[in-house]
Symmetry: C2
């Protein structure tokens, strides 16, 4: 029996802490993510994380041996500093590891949240048994977690897996990261929303336009997926376009990493049925070696919104 492991997933709006034992969640704590003016969030963030962990430890018998891992929504360096975090901008540059370790009096492992989710899916989720896995989490942007040779691929400084910022067309839309044509500009919730607004402005999404009160600028990605689920042909055309770009970026990752399995997670994966099938069909035609190459399985994530916390727990206990 392995010791219980605490995993914490820090999101833009909430912090989720769980206790993982024998591969199952046996306890959980949730609280809002603190906010603070620019640059000041770091100290409040480590305090909030420590409180979540402290609460779980108090309820945990034999908590001295309990390990702790934390997933953060950004470029979490192996130096313990959060280099960049689009959804937690005021925590940019925060040194998190040293103060957390001091407060909790134990080693704490930190990593990017999508890295944690990929680890969870590869150990306990849909990618069990696969040693080479690409996980793409689709939300506002595209996050990524990579498993190579059975281990989490972290890179030289912990920044690996920033797959949403592969540039797929240098003439494409401006990305908040500073480059043009990043993958996430073509194949995320943001992209769905933008294509939806374009279509609404051109008068091609009457049903959606009516539902949002007539203002094309009010159309969001969710509206498009909803309309597509209801069979709206224009919404389905938009989904097809996003699926094409999703497959295109995944094909690039296959060229680089040669996974045996691709996992689609994140907010958009609630509509995985719309994307997973088309992507699985498009992918082989986009690969070198094409259809001679053994098939790569494309599947929706299985562990849902708790994947990040589960993976953080696995990372904390050294199972990365």
């Amino acid at each position: 029996m392995t010791s219980p492991a605490i995993g914490v997933d820090v999101g833009g709006t909430k912090i989720l802490g769980i206790v993982l034992a024998e591969g199952a969640i046996v306890d959980r704590v949730e609280r809002p993510t603190p906010s603070a003016p620019s640059g000041d969030l770091g100290r409040r963030l480590d305090q909030a994380i420590a409180e979540v962990v402290g609460e779980l430890l108090e309820r945990e018998p034999g908590s001295r041996s309990t390990t702790v891992g934390v997933g953060l929504p950004g470029m979490m360096g192996t130096d313990g500093v959060l280099l960049a975090a689009p959804n937690l901008r005021s925590a940019t540059g925060a040194s998190l590891q040293a103060p957390l370790q001091a407060k909790l009096d134990r080693d704490v492992s930190l990593a990017n949240d999508a890295d944690c989710a990929a680890l969870a899916e590869s150990r306990l989720g849909v990618a069990r048994g696969h040693d080479d896995v690409v996980m793409a989490t689709l939300g506002t942007g595209i996050g990524g977690g990579l498993i190579a040779g059975g281990r989490l691929l972290r890179g030289g400084r912990g920044y690996a897996g920033e797959i949403g910022h592969m540039v797929l067309d240098p003439g494409g839309a401006m990305c908040p990261c500073g480059s043009r044509g990043c993958w996430e500009q073509f194949a995320s919730g943001t992209a769905l929303g933008r294509l939806g607004r374009d279509a609404a402005r051109a008068g091609r999404l009457a049903g959606i336009l009516h539902a949002v009160g007539g203002d094309p600028e009010a159309v969001r990605g969710e509206d498009v997926t909803q309309a597509a689920q209801a069979g709206d042909p224009e919404a389905l055309r938009i989904i097809d376009e996003v699926a094409w770009w999703l497959a295109r970026g995944l094909a690039n990752l296959v060229a680089v990493l040669d996974p045996t399995m691709i996992v689609i997670g994140g907010g958009l994966s609630a509509n995985a049925d719309l994307l997973v099938g088309p992507v699985g069909e498009l992918l082989p035609s986009m690969l070198e070696g094409g259809r001679d190459r053994p098939a790569i399985i494309v599947a929706a994530a299985q562990l849902g919104p708790e994947a990040g916390a589960i993976g953080a727990a696995l990372l904390g206990r050294g199972d990365g």
Copy 2:
């Protein structure tokens, strides 16, 4: 003291076999790569490789414990089959590992040649001491070898590192692999040649045009690098364009893999001075986290045309 290790590098025109002992090449054999009509090359190829190895083994005292590794110019699967090989088309689909092992009466490790070169540079070359390395070999196309966490990244089926086939612009030039806008269409010897011919046709490369006898279609990549070395401003402009695309693709790989070092090898690296500097300067501005991120070293390969054979030897003795 480690046992001597034999490494073989199979190229489009020649097969080079070496004996590596204490990190140095102590013996070598070279012969032409056999040719054969479509599909028939496989059997002649394993025979030719076995003969090169046999010759080295004969001269090797205590050859019973000598290990053998082979680098091939294509998608060398961990199943022992060469899935695709642009410069050895008639060997496509050849099962190489089983017959080679039978002929040589020992285990033989096979891998892609650029994978082998990356391994060599990371163990004995310019990337010594780096655990996370991207190597791009620039020639007709772009080959790649990736080191992650100190190990060669081979992927689920041995096809990892096909970095030249990342698509950087789906509207770009057609690639022999079947996709449009692959990286190697923008940043290889082929790209240099194409840009050179375009410029010559437009009357902007008078010096080169004169040197090749007045026919713009005769301009090749080497002519452009030569003219650039001599200071021709139009040739330097072409080099700048290729350097931009080279940096753009490398930035994508940094997003995915977060290396601490990038090595530029292959035929074009003889002109590394023209490319390495500009790429190193462009790269930080193309990265998420930009200039806050620790610098990534960009350097020319050190081991020259023997890198592939050296890396094959390392792979064969289990140092992959």
